[in-house]
């Protein structure tokens, strides 16, 4: 084999390599290299070739030892062009886990018909069960369920189904492309629940509900595919599943019980419905959503908690949550019940899924209010019109009319206040209701103009509206403008009252109830109050980027403070006292903002003094009637305005304490600060938004104190509490900007704990966190 000098023919060269390779293999391993080196003197390439082959030989023991798996090629062939019974297959139109779907047409000349043929390309299907299910589906006649026309088995052994060909869009992409709103989604979903329910009643469980099986035709008709054929397929899979996930199921939509291969149940379909509903509400295609949510990629399992958080509406989230509960018994007992709850949501009735959330009675009431909003207002309006209209317009009655109009106007607002306080609807609903009440009062004022008490109620309603629009949770530039307009309007109305009083030389007007004495000082105090609110909104707007608004606003507040104190005003009624307390507390707060602790403290002491007189009165009253504390509570519950007052007292008390605590904190008197903060936390009750914001502030300050005392663990715990509160708050008020910003900062991991909590400069406290006070005066 000496080929030296010649260009070796490749095959010959290879044969030599082979010989050398096997000769070397004959030798003991430790002699091979030396032997090969001598053999391959001056022929480096041959040496390398054989040497690498020897190495390869040692490692190639397992190589090619197992024949390739032919599963890949064993797939069912493409059926395009094949004739199956009376049908000729046209082309593949879809491919899924179970097999392919083809379009086909009838070719037996009977009539023209386009159909869909679904081939189940799975091995070892339970033929008998499959046939039985095919029969069930054939019997299942429903306009929203795809009709089964025929079926058979391919010569390759795979079963197939001939079905009505539905040309439509899958429900998720239909949702995206038509930009359905929540109501449209929910009402579409109601139909789906009904269809599923009717199939359930005939004993058929779908087991593989997913958007791909729910089509919407061009006429907007919902069509459900694959009903009733899934169980045998799933049985097949379940038997084959040995630690691996059955390939035919769609795990994202499968209930935990399906994943564990338990016998199919109605609750499995309810679960899938829940996931699909959530997906539609989130508004994406699940594959997109899912990739971000998968906790287990292999099994495509969704992180349900994250998934639920993406659903924007709280009630709908609870519905999805109930449907997708881990425990089947805790889900809706039927698709029908789920549909009914969705119906509740559509009709503003209490959603059953919310019953597990707590605050249920309150929640139900607020739903009642929403649903009967017009009825409520009708009732209020009726009172007004009755009072204003029943006397006719003769002169003798005018005085009476005036008195009644004033009473009626008051009734509108006090009823409204009671309803709002009882139901705690969202700010936007409050704004809407207040707006409607304002309209009513305006209408009434046209019939009884220059009625001082009615005008006063009107001014208060305007003020209330302005406060709601300017609520710090939502405040944007637009809101600020609207709020200011209303407040200025209120200012104008109060000015009118003053003018009328001056003109008629009246120094006080009784509004026919014990609280309602209106004199020039009351009006001046109210006017200053409006000035205060306007300045606060201006300061607040500074955050929105208006230059110097904050400084200007703070200067204005000092002006308000000066005038208010100069007014020498002593509020008489309980509500007025609280309003005055609030004025003083906020003015103190403004002082705190510019670091003027001394004046701030003085103002706070004044406000405490006023608040204490109210407290003392209340204590005296209860003592006089000899009521137990429990009884007082019970009465409070019945007597809404009383309860409102107590709430106000509580809030103001906490607010003042917080400021005192902050003063101590800034003087580094940590023990006084923590003591005051602890008092607030211990005494907290109720869950008004304003109070919750205050409580959050307190927790943050407590965390700052903990940090100063090197107790980082406690600081972290407190920070977590705040975040939980913020999450709750944002659930109820998703568009609230301030808490959202706060949450963002507090969860920003790039910041240190001190920065997250803003401990270095916590001066911007809750201002202008306003208690929206009652309109009663």
């Amino acid at each position: 084999m000496a080929l030296q000098g010649n260009e070796p023919v490749e095959a010959d060269y290879f044969a030599e390599i082979e010989d050398l390779f096997f000769d070397a293999l004959e030798l003991p391993p430790n002699q091979r290299e030396t032997w090969l080196k001598t053999k391959c003197k001056d022929r480096e390439s041959v040496y390398t070739e054989v040497q690498t082959l020897l190495e390869a030989h040692l490692s190639s023991e397992e190589f090619l030892s197992e024949s390739p798996d032919l599963r890949g090629i064993a797939a069912c062939p493409d059926l395009s062009g094949r004739r199956l019974g009376s049908y000729k297959v046209v082309e593949e139109i879809a491919k899924g886990g179970m097999g392919r779907v083809y379009s086909a047409e009838r070719v037996d000349g009977e009539y023209e018909q386009r159909v869909a043929i679904k081939v189940v390309e799975l091995g070892n299907i339970e033929a008998e069960l499959f046939r039985r299910e095919r029969q069930t589906l054939a019997n299942l006649e429903h306009p929203n369920i795809v009709t089964l026309l025929d079926g058979g088995t391919l010569e390759e052994g795979f079963p197939y189904l001939v079905m009505e060909l539905v040309e439509g869009q899958e429900i998720d992409s239909y949702n995206v492309s038509n930009k359905l709103n929540h109501k449209e989604i929910v009402s579409l979903f109601g139909t789906l629940c009904e269809v599923v329910n009717q199939a359930h009643q005939q004993g058929v469980i779908h087991c593989d509900l997913k958007p791909a099986n729910i089509l919407i035709t061009s006429k907007g008709i919902l069509k459900l595919l694959d009903f009733g054929i899934s169980q045998s397929l799933i049985r097949t899979h379940d038997k084959q599943a040995e630690g691996t996930y059955p390939q035919g199921l769609t795990p994202e939509y499968s209930s935990p019980q399906r994943r564990e291969h338990k016998p199919p149940h109605v609750a499995d379909d309810v679960y899938s419905l829940g996931i699909i509903l959530g997906q539609l509400l989130i508004g994406g295609l699940l594959p997109r959503v899912a990739t971000e949510l998968l906790i287990n990629k292999r099994y495509k399992q969704i992180d349900l908690d994250k998934f639920l958080l993406l659903i924007p509406s709280r009630e709908l989230r609870e519905i999805v949550k109930k449907a997708t509960n881990e425990t089947p018994e805790k889900r809706y007992i039927s698709a029908h019940m789920m549909g009914e709850d969705l119906d509740n949501w559509l009709n503003n009735k209490p959603v059953q899924a919310m019953s597990g959330v707590g605050k249920w009675p309150l929640y139900a009431l607020s739903k009642n209010l929403m649903r009967n909003r017009n009825a409520w207002l009708g009732l209020l309006l009726f009172g007004v019109l009755f009072a204003a209209g029943s006397y006719g317009w003769n002169k003798a009655n005018i005085a009476r009319l005036n008195a009644d109009a004033a009473a009626a106007a008051k009734k509108v607002t006090s009823d409204l206040a009671a309803v709002l306080s009882r139901t705690q609807p969202s700010i936007s609903v409050q704004i809407e209701l207040t707006g409607l009440a304002l309209n009513n009062i305006e209408e009434m004022l046209q019939k009884a103009p220059n009625n001082i008490p009615a005008l006063h109620v009107y001014a208060y309603s305007l003020m209330r509206y302005g406060q709601l629009e300017g609520h710090p949770l939502y405040l944007s530039k637009e809101n600020a403008t609207v709020a200011s307009q209303y407040l200025k309007h209120a200012n104008k109305s109060l000015g009118e009252i003053k003018a009328i009083m001056l003109e008629r030389d009246i120094d006080r007007v009784s509004a026919n109830d014990q609280n309602g004495l209106i004199d020039s000082k009351v009006i001046d105090a109210d006017l200053l109050r409006i000035d205060r609110l306007l300045s606060e909104i201006q300061i607040y707007s500074d955050i929105e980027g208006v230059p110097h608004a904050k400084e200007v606003g703070l200067t204005q507040l000092r002006d308000v403070e000066e005038k208010l104190l100069a007014l020498d005003y002593t509020p008489k009624s309980r509500q007025r006292k609280l309003t005055y307390t609030e004025d003083l507390a906020y003015l103190a707060h403004a002082r705190l903002l510019i670091g003027d602790i001394e004046v701030s403290n003085e103002l706070l002491n004044r406000s405490i003094a006023v608040l204490n007189t109210v407290n003392a009165e209340l204590i005296l009253e209860t003592e006089n009637i000899g009521l137990s504390a429990k009884e007082v509570k019970r009465r409070e519950g019945k007597n809404r305005p009383e309860m409102e007052i107590l709430k106000d007292i509580h809030f103001l008390n906490s607010f003042i304490k917080e400021q005192k605590a902050y003063q101590a904190f800034s003087k580094n008197d940590l023990s006084t600060a923590s003591q005051l903060y602890r008092q607030i936390m211990i005494g907290k009750r109720g869950n008004d938004v304003e109070l919750m914001l205050l409580i959050n502030r307190v927790s943050m300050m407590q965390a700052c104190i903990a940090l100063k005392q090197n107790n980082e663990g406690r600081a972290r715990q407190l920070r977590r509490n705040v975040l939980t509160n913020l999450n709750d708050l944002l659930e109820d008020h998703p568009e609230a900007k301030r808490p959202a910003g706060l949450r963002e900062r507090m969860s920003d991991s790039a910041l240190s704990l001190v920065e997250q909590l803003e401990c270095k400069d916590p001066r911007f406290i809750v201002f202008p966190l306003r208690k929206v006070t009652n309109t009663q005066n």
Binding site: F14, A15, L53, P68, A74, L122, N124, K239, E252
Partner: protein, 175 residues
């Protein structure tokens, strides 16, 4: 040894065998649990039984038939892998399957298979007998004894060619 030449006879046989093997594999699959591996031996034997019963039998004996079978399975597998690869590289609209598990796991095998095929084509010019042995043993799942019968060479030659082919292919694949 005209058995090895790409005669007209050979390609005619391959033409008949190719769809038949695919069809048989599908039938086998529809009967089997889907996570069951489908090994070529059973398939090839079944194909033989099926085709020998038909009158249009174009081959002389079982040996000849089996020899072509290995080549046939190789071609089927390679073309399958090629189609799938083309689809993966974005050739045309591939319907999105929600369940991709099985395909995903085979992706690596597909790449290897295509490389193996290329190497076998190169090996053909170096030593055609080695390629035959690989086809029969790896793609057809036959034993050394059977291969020695089919190829009419000694058992030791089969072993030698198999060892050499394995080492060379392994070396080339891991280069």
């Amino acid at each position: 040894m005209d058995l090895f030449t790409q005669s007209e006879h050979h390609s005619k046989l391959l033409e008949t065998l190719y769809p038949e093997i695919k069809r048989l594999a599908a039938i086998q699959m529809s009967r089997e649990r889907s996570n069951h591996t489908l090994c070529p031996t059973a398939l090839v034997n079944e194909a033989y039984l099926k085709m020998s019963a038909e009158e249009s039998m174009v081959f002389n004996d079982k040996q000849h038939f089996l020899a072509v079978c290995g080549n046939c399975v190789r071609q089927i597998l390679v073309s399958h892998a090629r189609t799938k690869n083309a689809a993966k590289r974005g050739g045309g609209q591939v319907p999105v399957t929600l369940i991709e598990g099985v395909d995903d796991f085979q992706a690596d095998t597909d790449m290897d298979l295509l490389q193996l095929d290329e190497l076998l084509t190169r090996l053909e010019t170096l030593d055609a007998l080695q390629v035959k042995v690989v086809e029969l043993r790896f793609f057809s799942g036959m034993s050394n004894e059977e291969i020695s019968d089919v190829l009419e060479v000694s058992l030791s030659t089969v072993k030698r060619k198999w060892t050499m082919a394995k080492a060379w292919l392994y070396k080339e694949m891991n280069r």
